[in-house]
């Protein structure tokens, strides 16, 4: 099959690749760029394990062709933390035990960040409806919802990359971390 050139930025790095027109964005990310944090859990756009951000909006990357991402900016789970500083949503998933097997988690976190970007102070019902397109078989969603609620207390939970660099963001991040029960 003849290939077409695609130029896109992923987690701040520009890539120029030739791809089959039918190549899915998720497979470009995983198999060509080695970003395996984005997962595939279904073939009907149902599970959300493949969720990434495309020009700042969360999308299911199994339902986007790589060629459609030409000229776009993509953020994956690997691009969420700022160096060693976890993004507040990552931090909250850890604190609140919002994951078990972890397979849905990258997609769930990317979706939650987008949810908080659009609605910085969601109710439980809004969180639940906002996560409807992401399936988790392990957690029963209870702790995922809790994590999103807790992350919302951080002033920049909807922002990418992690806001820890700003003074208020870092302070809030520390506060969250200290409240955690863990070691």
């Amino acid at each position: 099959m003849s290939e077409v050139p695609v130029r896109l930025s992923v987690n701040g790095r520009t890539h120029e690749v030739d791809v089959e027109p039918r190549l899915l964005l998720v497979h470009l990310l995983r198999d060509r760029l080695g970003l395996t944090g984005t997962h595939v859990g279904c073939d009907t756009t149902s599970c959300g394990a493949c969720t990434v951000h495309l020009d700042g909006e969360s999308v299911k990357s199994c339902t986007v062709l790589a060629v459609q991402a030409d000229g776009c900016e993509v953020t994956t789970i690997e691009g969420l933390a700022d160096g060693d500083a976890l993004h507040p949503v990552q931090e909250a998933f850890w604190e609140d035990h919002g994951l078990q097997c972890g397979f849905c988690t990258p997609g769930m976190i990317m979706r939650a960040v987008d949810l908080l970007a659009h609605d910085p102070d969601p109710t439980e019902e809004e969180i639940r409806r906002g996560l409807e397109g992401n399936l988790c078989r392990c957690t029963g969603y209870h702790n995922i919802v809790r994590a999103v609620k807790d992350a919302a207390r951080h002033p920049h939970a909807g922002r990418i990359p992690a806001p820890g660099v700003s003074a208020d963001g870092a302070g809030a991040g520390r506060e969250l971390a200290q409240e955690g029960l863990g070691a």
Partner: protein, 787 residues
């Protein structure tokens, strides 16, 4: 209500809600699942699967596929030179099982939709799928049977080369059933259908195999790497020490990856044949079709009782639809339910009679709870039906039959000994959270507004911690293996600790919980204890993860290995301090002579004594590591009380779960955070079955629910947050006092929801309805009752 307060006694880590050591890699996308591995030169597999439920294969033409540039090989059953068929590991003494041969590729005839006919191997993930579509297979359709009751009549044979569709008959009972029914004031009988479900792990199955210099390495998304190594060795006729199986990060299992799948064997076989790594990643559509299903039982339950609700006899006759082939534990699963057919009650006579039958569907096997959710559903739904019949409060009926807290260890009518329990205690605790009287008033008020709200309870006990070998082994229950677990605890020279467990987690959090156990015993921090699992080349032999066994069996093995290391620590320190080993104790992170805290050694210092043994006696071994194997003396029996509250909209039939409260008792908590997580997920698995999920085949054997669009896993939007609480009744079986909790939520939830739905529907004239409570089914039942 969140996790109960756990005292943080003297710097101990056991009992604390430590956040997970696993999570940093998982929340940053740095974990390694099978599909994340791509060794250079990897080939891809795709399957040609039968679209027919039953047919003779008349021809296979692979020439077009083979003509493709990037196709390396196409194989059919004729090409396979395996030394044995796929395994079924249950042979109950004295019972004849009628089991069809099952091969990774169909031999001349297919028996379910998705039965693999050929495998195509090529260079690329996408093009190998195209090539599979180029393989032309001709089928001669044969008659199909999908209904288990029809299959029993043997008019259509699932496998025409076998005499019957019936696989086996198996019974377990105790007490005088006839006398029990004779002395009953009332006898009720219900037909209770527990429909077919899917495991639904979000990571589909995946396997990658590679052979180098006669050594085979297989990475598989499996719960059972050690069993897979054994069966690879048998089926490929390869000496076991040359086979290494790695279960890297595994994205959920729920029993569906407690299996030896043909695709795993084929990947390994092809990798050896072609001399290149071979990989296969299941699509979700394949997973729905050919990753084993669960449940699918039709039970006829008879209960005899006195007018005051005291049960005198309980009889369950179960017809189990096992599907077309007997996989690893397929026919055994219903029997697991028979062990707890007494529930948490003093039933004087209990009998379970099981008939397993084949149909042209995919195999059923263990799915979260495996037999115990079905049994619990029967018992708890039947008790509610009995309560209505007698005009009694359903909780009163339960209380009247509870095994009292002072009766443990308690031998049930069938001769199983429950280790410990306090059923009244968990129910009392539940009722601290649920005010039934206030609920009834609210229910009345809402009904006037057209909202039909119902409450349902489930008080359960289950059997887990698989398993005492003498109880489950070949000459007893008939499993062709043992039930022990192993551990190795290694203290390094620096004092850092590596623990190897024979269990194989897939989301449970073993790395954290096990580290807590070891850290306390050795006097170190859990952050300095690394737990290694899921690699058969690392650590001692193991028996993997299923049946809520990892903590009660695997955790105890770790505790014992750690205790052996402690004994060594004592000897080194005693020698150095010129004291007796029995006088050495751990205090504030230092090993000291009892009563003399000024002189002592930290773990790194003890490691120095052990690994730089300049002045130990000749008869003392250097080093600081130990192995333990542990075979439990009994199963463990966790228990609890759950309540579900639902709203039913009579106009649409829609059922909404409004509130769910769970009180569980799995002994003393190692990490309450992990327990809550297991309970939450378990509840949703049961709620999903009760309200949304069902694997549906039509009469011709076509799978109707072939994707996540048709098979409705619950989403966050359908569910409330849960209220969980615990009581802690230690088990006398192991030194930690622990019981399993991975399946408990699922075992309890479907019955609690069913009883709640019935409670809501009763005023509308609906007295009994089977799951799943989909709008259509509920609406139809309401219309029917109104007629």
């Amino acid at each position: 209500m969140t996790a109960i307060e756990t005292p943080q006694a003297d710097g101990r880590h056991v009992g604390r809600p430590l956040k997970r050591k696993e999570d940093p890699r998982l929340i940053t996308g740095r974990a390694t699942y099978v599909d994340d591995l791509n060794p250079v030169g990897t080939l891809w597999m795709a399957f040609v699967r039968s679209p027919e439920a039953h047919a003779t294969i008349t021809s296979i033409d692979a020439s077009a596929a083979l003509a493709r540039e990037d196709v390396v090989a196409v194989y059919t059953a004729e090409d396979l030179d395996l030394a044995a068929p796929l395994p079924m590991a249950w042979a109950p003494p004295g019972i004849d099982l009628n089991v069809p041969e099952h091969w990774p590729l169909a031999r001349g005839r297919v028996a379910h939709v998705g039965d693999p006919v050929a495998v195509v191997i090529g260079e690329d993930r996408y093009s190998v799928v195209d090539a599979a579509e180029d393989v032309i297979v001709e089928y001669e359709p044969l008659p199909v049977v999908t209904d288990p009751e029809e299959a029993l009549r043997d008019e259509v044979l699932v496998h025409p080369d076998l005499p019957s569709n019936t696989v086996h008959e198996w019974s377990l009972g105790g007490g005088d059933l006839e006398a029990g029914f004779a002395e009953a004031d009332v006898v009720i009988e219900r037909r209770i259908v527990n429909h077919r479900t899917a495991g639904g792990a979000i990571e589909p199955r995946a396997v990658l195999a590679e052979e180098r210099a006669g050594h085979l390495t297989v990475w598989s998304s499996t719960q059972i790497p050690h069993f897979l190594r054994l069966f690879l060795s048998i089926m490929l006729d390869l000496s076991e020490e040359r086979v290494r199986v790695i279960a890297p990060e595994v994205g959920g299992g729920f029993g569906s990856k407690l299996q030896i799948y043909g695709e795993e064997i084929l990947a390994a076989w092809a990798a050896r044949k072609l001399g290149r790594p071979v990989k296969w990643c299941e699509t979700r559509s394949e997973a729905m079709m050919v990753t084993h299903h669960g449940r699918d039982q039709i039970a006829t339950v008879r209960v005899g009782a006195k007018r005051d609700g005291t049960v005198t006899a309980f009889h369950a006759r179960i017809l189990a639809d096992l599907g077309a082939y007997m996989m690893l534990l397929t026919p055994m699963v219903p029997s697991l339910g028979a062990f707890v057919m007494s529930g948490c009650y003093r039933f004087p006579a209990v009998q379970t009679d099981i008939v397993g039958v084949m149909t042209h569907k995919f195999a059923t096997d263990a799915i979260r709870g495996a037999g115990r959710p079905e049994a619990t559903h029967m018992i708890e739904v039947a008790l509610d039906q009995l309560a209505v019949e007698l005009g009694l409060d359903p909780l009163e009926v339960r209380r009247r039959n509870f095994i009292p807290a002072d009766a443990f260890p308690y031998e049930t009518a069938i001769g199983i000994t429950y280790d410990s329990g306090n059923y009244q205690g968990t129910l009392d605790k539940l009722l601290e959270h649920v005010d039934v009287e206030a609920f009834r008033a609210e229910q009345e008020r809402l009904r006037a507004e057209g909202v039909h709200r119902g409450i349902g309870f489930c008080t359960y006990t289950e059997i887990c911690g698989l398993a005492p070998s003498r109880a489950v082994g070949p000459s007893a229950f008939g499993l062709q293996g043992g039930g022990w677990e192993s551990a190795l605890v290694r203290v390094h020279l620096t004092g850092a600790v590596t623990v190897y467990t024979g269990t194989s987690p897939h989301g449970q959090g073993h790395e954290t919980g096990f580290a807590q156990i070891v850290a306390d015993r050795l006097g170190t921090d859990p952050q300095l204890v690394e737990v290694i699992h899921g690699d058969t080349s690392q650590g001692p032999n193991g028996l993997d993860t299923y049946g809520s066994r990892s903590l009660a069996v695997g955790g105890e093995a770790i505790a014992r290995a750690a205790d052996k290391v402690v004994a060594r620590i004592r000897r080194f320190v005693a020698h150095k301090l010129e004291a007796a080993p029995e006088d050495i104790e751990l205090r504030d992170g230092r090993w000291i002579v009892r009563g003399s805290p000024d002189k002592g050694f930290t773990l790194p210092e003890v490691a120095g004594l052990a690994y730089i043994p300049e002045d130990i006696p000749q008869d003392m071994e250097p080093g600081l590591e130990e192995v333990a194997f542990y075979d439990p003396g009994n199963f463990v029996f966790p228990f609890g009380a759950h309540a579900a509250i639902v709203d039913v909209d009579p106009e649409t039939g829609k059922v909404t779960l409004v509130r769910y409260v769970a009180v569980d008792d799995c002994g003393p908590a190692i990490n309450p955070l992990l327990i809550d997580g297991q309970v939450h997920g378990g509840i949703v698995h049961g709620v999903g079955q009760a309200l949304y999920e069902q694997v549906v085949y039509d009469e011709s054997g076509q799978l109707v629910t072939g994707t996540f669009v048709d098979y409705a896993l619950p989403t966050a939007a359908e569910l409330p947050s849960f209220e969980t609480d615990r009581t802690e009744t230690p088990s006398p079986v192991n030194s930690l006092g622990v019981k399993g909790v991975g399946e408990a939520g699922t075992i309890a939830a479907s019955a609690a929801v069913a009883n709640a739905v019935m409670d809501a529907l009763r005023p509308l004239g609906v007295t009994y309805l089977d799951m799943p409570y989909t709008p259509m089914r509920v609406w139809n039942a309401i219309q029917e009752a109104a007629r």
